[in-house]
């Protein structure tokens, strides 16, 4: 984690930008859909979201709840754009006051105290499409100059300047393949897909590419694909960030730019399938990209792809893995992309593996707090959220905590270390490698107590 702290900009203060001393710019209401504006009225304020929100669980202030956020934003919109807006005759009659910069600043600060985990959508009796709404509001707050938070701006800038949120040079994106080859962790480096024209693109993602603690994900995935004889390649130094960070932070123009470039690049490869081990990348490419442009290939998470390989008889588990594990559903893979059964099916196929579900699982899985900019904006809160998830895992008695997302891996590792918890963090690909008899070297995934 030491290296991650160096790579990841983590500031303890969370303050919204301060661009205005006078009345703030109006929210560009036209950027919303009619349905999103209707959703602000559809909220019945029943408070079910407050019961489940991981951020509110750590900081019990009403503006942090999805309910409170919707109400405050409706108030801002009404005072700026409504029939009873401040300054209009009707507004004056009702004593409506203009929205002050301080109000906008406070709203923006609380708006980013959200991991966009989508739990609120799943428990909302009215089915409000919350995360789409929060991301659109963030976009407008950025337009008005109040977002993202100072501590999150670095992520956005680095993504724009270096094509990765960690601010690492583009040239070192595929360094992990060379190191792994040198250490004989992989038999051969993945092919450069621009030359090999392979039908399958393994999109490694920024976290697995640059974070040494999580590079095992890339190594294990490579070994699995090579063991199955998959004709695949990677983009190497030509791979860009999927843009998830930009979208979640509200910098939509930059997201559209990177997304458009990626779509053009991917479509031009002639691939049939894009496979990624990162839940965030999967959600962004599979769910968000098609809203910008069409894709001429299938997008799968590694888990789904491996299941297909097993079905086709290209992979067979030969070794017992005598471990007791519990599986953490990454928000972007589960609630966002609807992939709940595939990881469980894969784990059940591994011989000797014992799986115990946490009390909160599948649609109700507790978020690790790492997503949506929460980790960079509110690192202390993310730490506490992660610790609660570790408590969930410890309650099962499992010795291993398994997930399928490098970002969750990072986020949960924070909780394990903070609690010095006797549980080992593993990516699901590591267990697959073990069952295939492939050597793994997950030193970075050890339980805190082992390190």
């Amino acid at each position: 984690m030491e290296q991650e702290e160096k790579q990841t900009p983590q500031e303890t203060s969370a303050s919204a930008s301060e661009p205005h001393d006078t009345a703030p710019a109006h929210i560009p209401i036209e950027k919303f859909s009619a349905r999103q504006l209707l959703e602000l009225d559809a909220c019945t304020r029943c408070g079910e979201c407050a019961n489940w929100c991981p951020a509110y669980d750590q900081d019990s202030r009403e503006p942090l709840t999805p309910r409170g956020r919707a109400r405050l934003f409706k108030d801002i919109l009404s005072r700026q754009h409504g029939v009873f807006r401040a300054g209009s005759l009707l507004g004056k009659l009702l004593g409506k006051k203009p929205v002050s910069p301080d109000e906008m600043r406070a709203f923006a600060k609380d708006l980013y105290a959200c991991s966009t985990c989508m739990q609120c959508h799943y428990v909302c009796p009215v089915r409000i499409d919350t995360v789409e709404l929060w991301e659109k509001i963030r976009e407008c707050i950025v337009d008005c100059g109040f977002g993202p938070l100072d501590s999150q701006k670095d992520l956005v800038l680095k993504t724009k300047n270096y094509d990765n949120p960690w601010g690492q040079p583009r040239s070192s994106r595929s360094r992990w393949t060379k190191v792994a080859k040198k250490k004989k962790r992989i038999t051969e480096e993945p092919k450069d897909i621009l030359k090999s024209k392979s039908p399958v693109l393994y999109f490694v993602g920024c976290t697995a590419s640059y974070d040494n603690n999580v590079e095992e994900v890339g190594i294990n995935t490579t070994n699995i694909f090579q063991a199955a004889g998959v004709d695949f390649g990677i983009l190497g130094v030509k791979e860009r960030c999927c843009g998830s960070v930009l979208l979640r932070m509200g910098d939509r123009p930059s997201f559209v730019s990177i997304c458009t470039q990626n779509i053009e690049q991917f479509n031009g490869l002639g691939i049939t399938t894009l496979v990624t081990s990162c839940a965030g990348c999967l959600k962004t490419i599979r769910e968000d990209y098609p809203k910008i442009g069409s894709l001429n290939f299938k997008v799968q998470h590694t888990i789904e792809f491996i299941l297909d390989l097993i079905k086709e008889g290209k992979l067979t588990f030969t070794r017992d893995v005598p471990l007791t594990v519990t599986y953490h559903d990454p928000c972007h893979l589960g609630r966002h992309a609807g992939v709940f059964d595939a990881p469980r099916r894969l784990l059940q196929m591994i011989p000797g593996l014992r799986i115990i579900e946490m009390e909160r699982n599948r649609e109700y899985s507790r978020c690790c707090g790492a997503g949506g900019g929460l980790k960079s904006g509110y690192p202390d809160m993310q730490n506490r959220i992660s610790q609660k998830r570790i408590d969930d895992a410890l309650a099962t008695g499992a010795s291993e905590l398994v997930s399928a997302c490098p970002f969750c891996y990072q986020g949960l590792q924070i909780g394990i270390q903070a609690k010095n918890a006797p549980i080992r963090m593993r990516d699901i690909t590591e267990l697959v490698c073990m069952a295939l008899g492939i050597e793994t070297g997950a030193a970075g995934g050890n339980a805190a107590g082992d390190e």
């Binding site: 036209e30 950027k31 859909s33 209707l38 009225d41 019945t44 919109l77 089915r127």
Partner: protein, 259 residues
């Protein structure tokens, strides 16, 4: 035109109040929808999916199974208020429509409604008597649960704003004054043979008689009930009750998008 069995003539004052109510309600609806229509981004990314919409409407808007999954008490509360409000609104709307548009000498009018010749009306009027009591009682049960959860138990998940209190107050007063009107009407001996069909009103009539209330104040209470009901209708688009119309729309749109 003839008196309905509530003895409540549609006077010019009532028409005026009704028109004002409709105008305020429309103004509120226009204020909200105007704001919605300022959003220019596409609302839907997929074609509307009729089966998903119908399924969500039946299961989640009418039966509200998603609330049942969370809590039986909450479902009972919401379902009682929803069905009670809807039942009473339908009864009032039906009677208003019939008294204006169904000729008094028709079979339907003779069966369901009173006339100057038949003060008690036909057999159908008893169905309407029971209808009002059943739905009024359901509404009161739901409101009682809501009031206990919000003001007695003070459940942490509930944030109480003025608009919550106003909506609950309106509905409670409407339900109580409705039953009071019926109780007062049934204190009149002319209704003795049919009073049992209005099982709640009949019980209330007995209590009212004991404290010396009679049908003499009936007209005043009916006016009170009508004015408060109309005021609530006008308040709907500005109130929490606006979700009665908006939330189902969001439920079916989301179901269609995710199908």
């Amino acid at each position: 035109m003839y008196d309905n069995y509530l003895y409540f003539p549609a006077t010019a004052a009532l028409y005026t109040l009704s028109v004002v109510t409709v105008l305020v309600l429309l103004a509120g609806v226009i204020a909200s929808t105007t704001l919605w229509m300022k959003g220019k981004a596409p609302s839907l990314h997929h074609p509307l999916n009729a089966p998903a919409i119908i399924k969500a409407f039946v299961l989640e808007c009418l039966l509200q199974v998603q609330i049942l999954r969370i809590s039986v008490v909450r479902w009972l509360m919401h379902f009682c208020i929803f069905i009670g409000f809807l039942g009473l609104f339908a009864q009032t709307a039906l009677m208003a429509f019939m008294s204006h548009f169904v000729p008094p000498d028709t079979f339907i009018a003779k069966t369901f409604f009173v006339s100057p010749e038949s003060r008690l009306g036909g057999a159908g009027a008893r169905v309407l008597d029971m209808w009002g009591d059943v739905f009024g009682l359901l509404l009161l049960i739901g409101l009682a649960i809501a009031i206990i959860r919000r003001y007695v138990l003070r459940l942490p998940q509930l944030e109480t704003l003025l608009k919550d209190t106003l909506s609950l107050t309106f509905l409670t007063v409407i339900a109580l004054t409705g039953f009071l009107c019926e109780g007062l009407r049934l204190t009149d001996p002319a209704y003795a043979d049919v009073a049992r069909y209005s099982f709640v009103g009949n019980l209330l009539a007995a209590l009212l008689k004991n404290i010396g209330w009679s049908a003499a104040s009936y007209q005043a209470w009916v006016w009170t009930h009508a004015v408060i009901s109309l005021a609530f209708c006008a308040y709907i688009p500005f109130s929490k009750a606006w979700h009665i119309f908006v939330s189902p729309l969001e439920i079916v749109l989301d179901a269609s998008e995710r199908a």
